[in-house]
Symmetry: D3
Subunit: 330 residues, 6 copies
């Protein structure tokens, strides 16, 4: 460890990727997200890696001892890494000197995967609470039947809501779903609409994303996701479950499927229908609000100097976000 330099990790607080500083020594465990063997100009190979934890990613380089370290640093592995943080072309990189494997049974996965800031168990309880509050018995039973399927539940607990836009992290879909259903219900009361339909629409509107996206090792589209899309995937699934419920009213099925088909709001956003009922309009606008708001808050919290008035450029919103708020007491 270098003299006179601040060293981070192991001895106290964890050295989160988002908090690395140029010039410091680091001694911490990270997951290997990508790995490339390259040729040095002078000949001989070196390793270019992406290391990460749940707070972000950083480039890392191995100049020496390439063969030995390469065996430790496989994609998907968690390794204890010692090295120096440097700045190169405005970005940080870690020059790795040593690396040791972390035994699988010692790995706390929650440290390495970006995840909702709310515990998925808490989110799941809130979701169940919202479903229990659905007055319409057909819709309530439909929702419970869908959530009771272990295959659905397992995926829904961890699925992200997107590959790279808002809520693009573990359990992001659940967080988005619960937030939408909560405010959807409030708004349905305000406008005196059918609460059961609105809550059911919010809960199911992105369900298809559990089949549209694969999350391991990184978030990628599935073949079904690209060729059919989450909207059709959930419409097919919901319709299949309804077919198993003989007393489910046809009028209700039509309205519920319409909520799913119209939740993108406008044709140019891949919406095969536009909202034609107040409930469909509400589900669409609440989705829009929750997505954009998440994108804005993520931009405000993104890496960059938090003292600066403006966030880094947000690609989703195509703008910079202003971070200053007036203090309530002045």
């Amino acid at each position: 460890m270098g003299e006179g330099r601040r060293s981070v990790g192991r001895d106290g607080a964890r050295a989160w990727v988002s908090e690395l500083q140029p010039g410091t020594e680091v001694d911490e465990s990270y997951v290997v997200r990508s790995r490339d063997v390259r040729q040095r100009r002078g000949g001989g190979p070196y390793l270019a890696l992406t290391l990460g934890d749940r707070t972000g990613e950083v480039t890392a380089l191995v100049w020496e001892n390439v063969d030995a370290l390469g065996k430790v640093l496989e994609v998907g592995a968690v390794a204890a890494v010692t090295g120096q943080v440097q700045r190169y072309n405005q970005r940080l990189q870690v020059v790795v000197r040593r690396a040791a494997p972390v035994p699988e049974n010692e790995v706390d996965e929650s440290l390495y995967v970006r995840s909702s800031s709310v515990d998925p168990d808490v989110l799941w309880q809130r979701l169940e609470g919202l479903v229990e509050g659905v007055d319409n018995q057909h819709l309530r039973q439909l929702l419970f039947r869908i959530l009771a399927d272990p295959g659905v539940a397992a995926r829904l607990r961890v699925a992200p809501a997107a590959r790279s836009m808002h809520h693009a992290f573990r359990s992001g879909l659940l967080e988005h779903t619960v937030s939408m259903a909560t405010i959807g219900r409030q708004m349905a009361r305000h406008y005196d609409l059918d609460e059961s339909l609105v809550v059911a629409g919010c809960v199911l509107h992105d369900l298809g994303k559990i089949w549209e996206l694969d999350v391991s090792p990184s978030i990628e589209y599935t073949d079904d996701g690209r060729l059919l899309g989450h909207l059709t995937l959930e419409v097919l699934h919901v319709d299949r479950i309804i077919a198993e419920m003989p007393s489910f009213p046809d009028e209700l099925r039509r309205h519920l499927l319409h909520l799913l088909l119209a939740h993108h709001g406008e044709y140019e956003y891949g919406s095969p229908r536009r909202p034609k009922t107040p409930e469909a309009l509400l589900v669409h606008v609440v989705d829009l609000l929750d997505s954009k708001m998440a994108g804005m808050i993520e931009a405000i919290n993104a890496d960059g100097d938090p003292d600066q008035a403006w966030s880094p450029y947000s690609r989703i919103l195509d703008r910079f976000i202003y971070r200053r708020r007036p203090s309530n007491d002045t």
Copy 2:
């Protein structure tokens, strides 16, 4: 009064314009909204009028006694009219046989002007309640200072929110403002945003419409409305009032003006700024929701057969609206 024909008005319930039926006799008071003297094909003049009450408008014709009836049926006057309802080219018209002036002191104006379904006094109380709940003292004082101006208050109580789109009726702006501030505050809590800013933004976002539109005898744009627009009118007004409050923080002024400048959301809707703070995004989306929802509910309630599954075509939303909702108990 014709034998064998149903006669409406005077004897019991009022004969609202929206409830006139072809083939009936009518005997009721209406306001004259337009008047044209035309030539009959066979020579000689006749009168073509628009009669109305708060439920709608109907064409009326005077074929005989034109000179005498013409003196009674001036634009803006309220007259008791006797005649027959006919259907012509798919539309109703009243052939007027007799007309008598209604003395001004007997006129109940609320019968003739389309108006919010909520009493403006109730709306005003809600507005004051929302303002009282604003924590930030600068914003609370600013709002009270603006609402305390009798010229502003008088116009705000009666102004419509639009000429022909959503909330295009007496006190429509107040109804829209109170609805937005109510749900804006709920959403601000949900997302942990600055409630004071959001409520202030909702209250002031369309204030300029009190100078943009003139309401008498019909809703029309003013010169200021067309050349400057409500957005600039309210920015100029709010900035002038803030200039009278020496301790008003500059940071707060900048943020508040941004909320007003960005509330249309996108450049193509005449928004000189796009929302760059979560509060500005929220004010914009809540405005969008409340406007479209009002348009949808107005379409559902619009004239046409209420038993039909589909509303008349809604020009604002460019679609037909589905009227059927599932019953909660089935």
Copy 3:
């Protein structure tokens, strides 16, 4: 019958609506498409009707004998009508003097409904021939299973392809389907693509229209049509039939559903997916070609003077169409 005026109908060729001339007497049978009782300016009712046959529609008026003729001229009835053709405001109208009912068993429906110029039996044979030529056994069996359903077959034989655009007539959907599958197969060969997929995609791409549109008495959208749309209706149906075929390959199901989901080509045309395989691209472009070509040919053949170089304005194509072609022998 007027002296010196050309009289049409009954005595020889039928007096098609599209061939009526101002100033002639008419004596022919038509179907009543709409009927309105209106008030004359001088008092007393008259009838305003729309009469039609498969070549078009014309306004008709009954000034006298209103009660008696009104009983004959109900909406949906076929009546033998005697009267005079006049021109009013650039449009033709028939002043009806006499009307007699045509007994139902004497009505040849094909005279009154606009229909494909090709016999539906011939079209159906061509469709079966195309399906028999499908090499892939799963797809061939799927298509036969769908077409073997009497409910589907009965609707598909008569359904139009649209409410008011191209192929908006009886059996228009069948004509469009057969045309598309024919050239789709040719193009698939040219580009060495999977013929079976392309033919199946063409046959099924608009199947949902048999539930999207009702054809009697005029072409109107159903509730399912407006709320779910033909694209989703056919995807749900095809998926349900595939679920009954256990050996149907999953890869094939995914590809086929993608063809249906992507056949509108671009998001802004309500396409929830864009074509991501050459077969999907081909089905989309062939649909585009056949629809626009039909619109253009319908415009060229539309009413108006066939000697004129330019067609009436085509609303579908938003332009006038040039009718002159060079003669091959000059």
Copy 4:
């Protein structure tokens, strides 16, 4: 040549650029497409080259013996190159150790230039066959007159159809032209249109590209291409040739020029006219189909792992393309 490393080229199959693998030794001839002298960080120059053959391009570096090798490796020269293939930043590069000139008379140009997969002589024969089949004598003579011009023929045999989109290779324009005329004629028969016009429109629709693009050493726009564009260039040329044919009917000239002016279909694609005849619509849609289909098939065949379900991202189509097709026998 390194021990234990696979060596490619010279000894058996050619070492095509598209098949180079990191870590192998290469000994093969390539054309030099670009050359840059750069400074090493430690001082002294090195060469950065682009080497290519008809299958693609690869970066190459000369670190030593720069002066001598630089004389061999001039832009446009073909050289026999010995060196090592490395991977750098996800891309391959060749570190060149030796280079020797290949005598011009030993150069087989077809190895180095990307070209249509069909022999241009075969394409030219097909083109002549299509022209011979044109019934309309004026159009047939016009086409032969244009193709008989040696300047036109020489350019048309080798011109690409684009700089970087579909058919952007030697003889790509000819391939595109023949493909379009072939299916254009089939479709003209299907819709009973004027075959002669359609074939003539297909043959001439991109003729101007022979003056719009220069192909040596890389495909670039000419001044005429940028300032006038291929559409105007071909309209001017065709009109000039027609002016030499006194009996050419004016009606035919107008229609033919319209086909050329309207073949981009919509104003926003730089089309000064939109198609106003069925023949013009057909030429436009067939152009669209053949261009997009070529783009899709090029993406499917593009470099990348052919076993992967998805192609590399296609910039032309703005999407990934699915490579899997169902097997006909399953």
Copy 5:
């Protein structure tokens, strides 16, 4: 002539169509622009005419003496008309009682055709002055050669610049051309551009409209206009004349044709090229300015109450225009 009613025409100032008032007697000569024989409801024909002079058009009806008056009131004829001005459905109409032919040699055509407010001889002189000021001898000779063609000159003197937008009147194209060349030259000096090119571009940019539009009896598109368009028509013509000038520099031809091809500025306005030189940009912007300014000034001067602050709705500009200007002396 009716007692007590104001009578207009013949006795003093002309009774211009734009100045007719409801209720007055009229005795004046007009041109017949359209004529329709219609059936009265009670039977028997009547005439519906459009009468006009250079200030506008008015509907006219002949109820009696239809046969005799019909012979006088043929389309294109000028007739002295006596009748009464009435208001019907918010529009004026003239009920004609008498009509007499005006001998052709007594007809002053300039009274009946809407025309530029500037004498075409004056406009032509200005045009020649602008051409004489062109320094570049090739361009100057080209322009004189084109204007010297009697066929071109005769059409250019009277052609409108559009069918229904700006400058849609006799000599409107000449007025627009001279205005553009005048300010184009000023702007070319301001930005130190090539004046000769700019003036030539302005003079020729809409020349093709003399073949695109026919002016008699009303302004309509020609077949060449619809199928080829004015832009291509003028490019073909200018290129043909340049071909007759052997010493005309190729560079100059390319630049000049580019000015014509790019003058619509953007692809979506049917511009096959976008401006790629400062001179091309200038010609485009000056065209835009002169067209929109003319549209705005025409709206300000349009019929409607000139005392009103706002013009009638301008379809070209999609807005109302404000008519009030501040007085310079206040």
Copy 6:
């Protein structure tokens, strides 16, 4: 200094950044615009700098003597630099060997800041001349009052007109303003519009940019710029000054504010109003012309080989610009 290499700077003409050539030695003073300390691959730091003068910017590297030179080469400092110009990846870079501070009192700032090619004193005189020529006394006094404010004048003399588009240099706003007012006045005369309004609109239309942009050390948006925008900033300022002029006519204020609010022309360009008077239309079009023309001329003069027919790609105009003009004498 290398033998046989051309050395530039100090000895005669200045070595402007825009004229540096690869391979030469340089000995000249530049301002340091950015500075980054980076790690060499082999370990140890080096400096990556941006050096500039008013003609452009160039990357510079310090490989040795990093500590000592780093103290001289601070951001904002002017230093005399000795080193070698190299080419790396198609771009130039200077490898710095020596650097010495230039004493502040010897720094001629005009050498280092990109600036209008016209002296700001001359531009200011022209501006005052234009204001003196304003006939309308209210507008003239308003303009003088605004320009007399030392805070405004100081900023207006140096402000750029944009951050990265046209006129993005010192005094660029003044240059743009004077150019626009000059041609705005000419055009106002041509169309007989209110010259005073047009000149006032041109002078004030971008005034808010003096608060929207900060110029030191590089051009960046202010918080007010991003949240309120120059359009609103100038409307608020102008309205505040008018409020101090009691006799300023209300009609004139409304019209003038409209000119500012509408100068972006269309909603999608962030214009809260569209031009509704000829004067507003003129200010908008003249702004468009002057901005685009400046962008085009800047592209023509941009770095790159001036002998080449085409400019480097212009991001503002999204195209390449043709540099060749015909010579007037040929």
